[in-house]
Symmetry: C2
Subunit: 411 residues, 2 copies
Amino acid sequence: MISIEEHLDRILQAVHQLPPREEELLAGRGCVLAEDVASPVALPGFTNSAMDGYAVRAADVSGATGAAPVTLPVLGDIPAGSTERHTMSAGECWRIMTGAPLPGGADAVVPVELTDRGLEQVRIDAAVTAGRHVRPQGEDVAVGDVVLQAGTLLGPRQVAVLAAVGRDRVRVVPWPRVVVLSTGDELIEPGQTPGFGQVVDSNGLMLTAAVAAVGAPVRRIGRVRDDDQSFRDALADALEGADALVTTGGVSAGAYDTVKAVLSRSGTVQFDQVAMQPGKPQGFGVLADGRVPVFTLPGNPVSALVSFEVFVAPALRQMAGQPAEPPTLEAVAGHDWSSPEGRTQFARVVLRREGADGVDWTADLAGGQGSHVLGGLAAAHALAVIPAEVTQVHAGDQVTCRLLTPLGTVA
Amino acid sequence: MISIEEHLDRILQAVHQLPPREEELLAGRGCVLAEDVASPVALPGFTNSAMDGYAVRAADVSGATGAAPVTLPVLGDIPAGSTERHTMSAGECWRIMTGAPLPGGADAVVPVELTDRGLEQVRIDAAVTAGRHVRPQGEDVAVGDVVLQAGTLLGPRQVAVLAAVGRDRVRVVPWPRVVVLSTGDELIEPGQTPGFGQVVDSNGLMLTAAVAAVGAPVRRIGRVRDDDQSFRDALADALEGADALVTTGGVSAGAYDTVKAVLSRSGTVQFDQVAMQPGKPQGFGVLADGRVPVFTLPGNPVSALVSFEVFVAPALRQMAGQPAEPPTLEAVAGHDWSSPEGRTQFARVVLRREGADGVDWTADLAGGQGSHVLGGLAAAHALAVIPAEVTQVHAGDQVTCRLLTPLGTVA
């Protein structure tokens, strides 16, 4: 048996960040930037008003108060979006809208609330200092400034910055295109009525949804028959346009374990017993001239899901240029449970807030822990990772948890 | 001025969970279930083997050891996916694969590793107890069991359970279809070269990406001109097939604030000053006979983003049947900063791990805090929420943060 760390290291050594691709700006959301982006423009692009009000020379209104207002002639309106270049002289002003270009000769804006809102002439009831309510050209970004660095994850705010500096396309590290392939003569599609001995390909659906939840595009190939030729045909189809391949089923010690039989002969896929529970039988390798990593996951649903979280998701994230390991959460065991000697246990746990301040978490085992039990798996919020050397978890022990669901959905 | 709580309460009172819709199973991922799902089948659907090995009567091998093995005739192979009903008598056995139906007359499975792997007859080197390595029919789920309750968020594991109990379609609460509409004569599309006085509609792109990040389908209508007819036309287009509408720009006190001017006359949209910084000018109401909530966000990018996080995202989540408020994170202020009196501050902060154990978080202000400054906004990990009564944050104070980016991407 090899350790989890050994198996994961081998995977993360073998999978590489995908080559950058140009995408439309909104399509790049969720990817990391593959280039430093320097701005070809200044932001703001022109000196403009931060308020609705009147563009003035501060010196002209330096004495203004409610008791001793200053009245100025209004040369006209400057709306936001005005592309005319206006100017003014001492003793004059323009009515101006938020975001509109400041006229030449003005150095401050008096907010409309401090005036009588006049159109021909305006009464100004308060002084402003030079520069007040003015956003100078280039204050935020100067020409040539690097606004975002390669490796930055593109969320809504990064999309806004890229748009603001003129980008409508962007070079990103794409997410790998993943194919999920289920093998087994016993499999039927969801919605079909199972005959004696048949089971729905729930693993294929689960892993397809899991890939999508990570953020990667996914294609599912269901119900591949348990014979070498069927699997080889499905494999050829799967490798078409795929960056990674995930199989489920067909890898234990049985006589009909086609996946293991065929891929063992490829010479580049290695099958191991990994010291974990569940999920012991693992296979990993690369196909298509070292280009496409393949993960052969066990057929038990809990084993398949745990294997996906522990090995596949980190690899997919690394291929997309993102941190491989997810953040973990520290919780306290709510009761005792046992863990197998010499194997890391991934216990399915339900989390609950503990204590008056509600900032601590308690982890309780989630229903049946058998590796075929879907009910307990679906109820769990997280996997509690119990190290291989621990055989007994005691109530009150600190346990590190990998979240299976967004924290916001945990009551 | 009204408080944040007052404005948010009014919004959450006015927006309602959308009517359920039937979706294909994988398309339902990310939605909450709108029905209790009872299983029409038992899981496992038939008693089956948990191991690759030999199906036996436990009594026949009760004395088996390595020194005194028991040899049994093998009646044949039962592969996974076998739909034949096999039987056996005392003193016989079947070779059987993981997941294959247990033959009638057998009550245990001897793992292949404890045998000589014989095909005609097999030598068994260890005893098993009755029921060992057998998964009884219905052990996980009995016919009629409710496997998932209404309100459950559908992730990969819930998809697996639904598939396993035979579902290929599912009733869910859909995400609202959102339209983002930007107004302003000064706006140009990303990729166009700005003339004097023009700015890219980065807000429209940002809010479109923000809606998508929440999980809702989104359509963007860009560059609506600042006149009543243009806005009314765009509004009619936007309301076509929309469940919610988000506008940006056109709501401050200026002469050309078309959004405010037109929607004020609708009689169902209310404009308020909300005691927050940034984001003071807020409008909210319902259009289309009370069916479509409309959020008019300020035009400053930071104000728009904060308003989205504080008011729009909770409303969209509530419409989708999900918890309105996101989880928060407690951090410690890394330095002093000031906050306006009487207004809740949403300070853009960068988070970093603090302390030897790396479980505590420190929050530092992220660059320029002006409401038009995109750079500081893009760099921030979170909004630190400083209550209205606090005017000075001191280094070491605890501050509650709303995350703007997944925690896994924070170094």
